[in-house]
Symmetry: C2
Subunit: 150 residues, 2 copies
Amino acid sequence: MERPGDDTGRQVDDATVRAATRAWQGLNTLLMDRHNRRKEVAEALGMSFSRIRALRRIAPGPLTLRELAQRMSTDPPYTTVIVDDLVRRGFAERVPHPVDRRAKLVRLTAEGEAAAARAAAILSAPPEDLLALDREDIEALDRVVSKLLG
Amino acid sequence: MERPGDDTGRQVDDATVRAATRAWQGLNTLLMDRHNRRKEVAEALGMSFSRIRALRRIAPGPLTLRELAQRMSTDPPYTTVIVDDLVRRGFAERVPHPVDRRAKLVRLTAEGEAAAARAAAILSAPPEDLLALDREDIEALDRVVSKLLG
DNA sequence: TGTAATCATTACAACAGCATAACTAAATGT
DNA sequence: ACATTTAGTTATGCTGTTGTAATGATTACA
């Protein structure tokens, strides 16, 4: 699988692999260590990061607890706990599923959407040192990242 | 601070800010959601990620518990707990501080270094989709990331 | 020399994260 | 109609994280 002329028909030379490794390691340092904002968001919204994660998963639109559980890779029981907490805080509510009376949909309240927006603002605001780069560098990064996202 | 002609003497136009934001958001998706290897490393080494974090902090060279606590932003008591655990596993040992007899240095054993190396290998291995990019894209990413780390 | 500050530890205590098993209600398939 | 499956909840417990207070040993300073 790693030999020349493999499935992709493309050989990645050593220097490129090293560059990729260096870049990946650097990205980890940047995002995990230097600009990790989990604590910051958690403090700003007064809730643990796992709740914020849930909030952001629900934000795009109502979904069943099952779907939420799958997207967060957690058990149904723990999902119930998380949603209970969001409901208690007034950020989410359970509404009946339109066709399946076993299921419930979770959706954000207006407050919940506001909280999700605040979280998104904090989490997606690029750090100073990124904005300080030249325009070409930022655009190059943007281009490569969008390729990676497929 | 945000007005034209600010401290840096450089104005960042809107499109560039948007590109930076998009790139930053994309990076977060990539590293936090899509290729998050915390669980993987934790399972591979049979210990929680916080232990692995400690292992990696100690790896560069012996340091006092206080220094370790600062670099991990944890309390001294919890640092003791973590080091105790690493010692119990045979990955670290406490040695007397050369000049301050109150303090102790923590350093990795040979096994500890091997474990740290395994962790580093898993965490810094670039994901498939990064290696699948064109050489120029990888090099561009590497270049921008190294600027950011600078 | 004695007092205060520092390093590490111990002993608790509280809470977050996450899993398992048992249960109810509703849907599905025979 | 009955058995099986599925959605969600409840009860329970274990592990890991993190804080506070108290203790012992050593160092630094007045």
